[in-house]
């Protein structure tokens, strides 16, 4: 049913993502699909990486590690943008088209009143992505 599952990851907060990572791996095994891990970062040094090349290496390492642990096919797709705090939604939507994913599995926080004026990343992706989206609550 699904061939390619896109899973956005925040390398700085892997602890919060364990559930989403597990779900995407389980689905990948079930449907025999590939998981592509997408990470969004700025070109400026961040807590995760000092530069885009280092970021790519870390994301690839994560993809390889998941492949070994779960016995699935994986790849990594680092996306650079100018203002990650703001642009992350658009960057992920673009990545969902560019990677050709037919399912997005992503983690999201618990909804709160603030979501009415300030939609969550997961909410926005689910609303605008062309493919199926599964939002995993943390």
């Amino acid at each position: 049913m699904f061939r390619k599952i896109m899973t956005p990851v925040d390398l700085g907060h892997l602890g919060d993502l364990q559930k989403a990572l597990q779900v995407s791996a389980d689905l990948a095994r079930h449907y025999d699909a590939e998981v592509v891990y997408v990470g969004v970062s700025a070109a400026a040094p961040s807590a995760t990486a000092h530069n885009p090349a280092e970021f790519k290496a870390k994301l690839t390492a994560l993809a390889n590690e998941q492949a070994q642990t779960h016995g699935i096919k994986t790849s990594a797709d680092p996306v650079a943008c100018h203002d990650p705090a703001k642009d992350v939604d658009d960057a992920l939507l673009k990545a969902s088209r560019d990677t050709g994913a037919d399912l997005v599995v992503m983690a999201s926080h618990m909804p709160s009143v603030l979501d009415y004026i300030w939609p969550s990343n997961g909410g926005k992706i689910a609303e605008h992505a062309k493919c199926s989206v599964m939002v995993v609550r943390g």
């Binding site: 907060h13 892997l14 040094p45 000092h50 280092e54 100018h82 203002d83 705090a85």
Partner: protein, 569 residues
């Protein structure tokens, strides 16, 4: 989290660059928390100290207004009169240093590693660095400054007791000679808006870009000092540098916001107000408002508070929309409008006259640059201290903000390209702007005998000049829109910069933090405006120019050291 980032070697960045190995992890001193629904990721203690010290300073200037005013004013005049030689020499060094970078082989080092691609195209990049750097000043001073120097030069020199000159004319003045006074006036104005201020910005921006994009250090001021202080920059040395930068940026923006609102309010009541200025009944939107020297009506803060709230609201939308969707778009709109206004004044002001004046002013600038920039044994003390030294301290106190912002958008350029675009092109644009606006106004005085702009209050000079040209209503409205939008573009980029510094160099801190700084800035401006204290806090900001000058000189050294270890393309 830190444990995710350690234990992995640092691979090559994009092509060769020389990473600095340090045990410091970006964000290691940060506090991450959740207050209600708002996420928080702030540097400890920079966020807290700078926030608190801003509040304390505001309290001080409101609780003891006279004492605060005299303390800050004394500090400012002491700094600009005692250290005038220091400011002038330092600014000369920055210009020479930048010119040197263009011609040395280090000019081919690329920011972001040898294979990095530029983040922005030329137009967006240039619009952003210009709108943050000096956009607003051009509207204030484009007409008024050439006029001031022209008038003081024309009046000639006068000597007071003890043989000290009491006039404010630049260099040797040009008593009674209108043509010479005009040239000197243009040269002095261009001197204050040309190579020197842009060299100041370029040094700070280059240092930050180099140490962040090539060396992998966080995008915050302290990183530029790594070659000098080593790992101590992650301790209190760095906290102090960063806090000082936040302080200068926030108060610089808040005080400018206050004064900018006054210009916009004056312009609005002048153009669209009802009632009579002479009788003191002029009002706009039913709120009485006058610039006191013309109408005798005291400034009513209500209109100003409305304007600041409006400007802050637009800035808020812009920061929430982010760098590309907000700041860049507004900067481009603004540059487009400014270019239209420039072209309009150029064509109706007399293109042939203005082209001639452009080259003549440029020539006058280079003929006078040595006399005007000479730090020692100046006879024109009022000019060199009251104007030049003041300006240099002002530009320098703004440089952490503008420098950080330019660095943020300049990744992927070579050092040579960077210096040419941050130093030489803005200088030429400033010469053009000053020629068109100042030259047209001067021509009104010299050739047409119209003294309206010459006699008008500072914030109205632009509108009086435009009133003599066709389509005055439309161009004046464009002028007011430009004033407002230039404030928005300073305010939003300033909030981004303060947010990045107080998040320890993280550019991906939660959006709610930049919202906080943007609102805080507007609130400080309103409080100072109502309570009084705009002028005294502006004086405090200018006084911070002194420590920053030292900081900038050290940066030149750090840049050089940093470039030597990079591979040249």
């Amino acid at each position: 989290m830190a444990e995710e980032t350690t234990n992995q070697g640092i691979p090559e960045p994009e092509g060769h660059s020389d990473l600095i190995e340090t045990d410091y992890e970006i964000g290691q001193d940060n506090i991450e928390a959740k207050i209600g629904p708002f996420g928080l990721d702030i540097h400890n203690p920079v966020f807290l100290i700078s926030g608190l010290s801003v509040v304390l300073f505001v309290f001080y200037s409101l609780a003891l207004p006279e004492q605060a005013a005299s303390a800050f004013e004394t500090a400012k005049s002491y700094v600009i009169t005692t250290f005038d030689f220091f400011f002038l020499s330092a600014a000369n060094i920055f210009v020479l240093f930048c010119l040197l970078l263009i011609v040395t082989p280090y000019g081919s080092v690329r920011l972001g590693g040898a294979d990095a691609k530029p983040d922005y195209g030329y137009i967006g990049w240039f619009a952003m660095l210009f709108a943050a750097g000096m956009g607003i000043g051009l509207l204030f001073f484009g007409v008024s400054e050439p006029m001031s120097h022209f008038s003081s030069s024309l009046a000639g020199t006068s000597v007071g007791e003890g043989g000290v000159r009491t006039d404010w004319a630049p260099a040797g003045a040009a008593g009674g000679d209108e043509a010479a006074a005009q040239r000197l006036g243009m040269a002095a104005t261009i001197f204050h808006w040309g190579l020197h201020p842009w060299a100041i910005y370029a040094v700070v921006a280059l240092a930050l870009a180099l140490f962040s994009y090539n060396k992998g250090l966080p995008l915050t001021l302290r990183s530029a000092f790594y070659p000098i202080f080593g790992d101590r920059v992650w301790g209190w040395t760095g906290h102090i540098i960063d806090t000082l930068a936040v302080f200068a940026t926030l108060f610089g923006l808040a005080t400018s916001l206050g004064f900018g609102a006054e210009q916009a309010a004056s312009g609005l009541t002048f153009l669209f107000g009802s009632g009579d200025a002479a009788e003191g009944t002029r009002s706009f939107l039913g709120i009485t408002y006058g610039n006191s020297d013309e109408s005798g009506v005291a400034n009513n803060p209500a209109l100003l508070v409305l304007l600041i709230t409006g400007i802050t609201a637009i800035a808020l939308v812009s920061v929430v929309r982010g760098l590309d969707g907000g700041v860049k778009v507004l900067s481009e709109i603004n540059m487009g409008l400014a270019a239209l206004l420039l072209l309009f004044v150029f064509f109706v002001g007399g293109p042939i006259f203005l082209i001639t004046l452009f080259f003549d002013s440029l020539a006058a600038y280079f003929q006078n640059i040595f006399a005007l920039s000479n730090p020692f044994g100046r006879e024109d003390v009022n000019f060199s201290q009251g104007w030049t030294s003041f300006y240099w301290a002002w530009w320098i106190s703004w440089s952490p903000f503008v420098g950080m912002f330019i660095a943020r958008v300049s990744r992927g350029r070579t050092v040579r390209e960077f210096v040419i675009c941050v130093l030489l092109i803005p200088t030429l644009v400033c010469v053009l702007w000053m020629t068109v606006f100042g030259g047209t106004a001067l021509n009104q005085v010299v050739a047409e005998g119209y003294e309206g702009a010459k006699n008008a209050a500072l914030e109205l000079k632009l509108f009086y000049m435009l009133s003599q040209l066709p389509l005055a209503t439309i161009t004046s409205v464009v002028g007011i829109i430009l004033v407002v939008v230039f404030f928005v573009t300073s305010s939003d980029s300033g909030s981004l910069v303060i947010d990045t510094i107080t998040a320890g160099g993280k550019v991906d801190a939660p959006v709610s933090q930049r919202v906080f700084w943007c609102v805080f800035e507007g609130a400080v401006a309103i409080v100072l405006l109502i309570g009084g204290g705009l002028a005294s806090l502006q004086a405090a900001v200018i006084a911070t120019g002194l420590p920053f000058t030292l900081v900038l000189l050290l940066m030149c050294f750090a840049i050089w050291k940093g470039l030597v270890s990079e591979r040249r393309a």
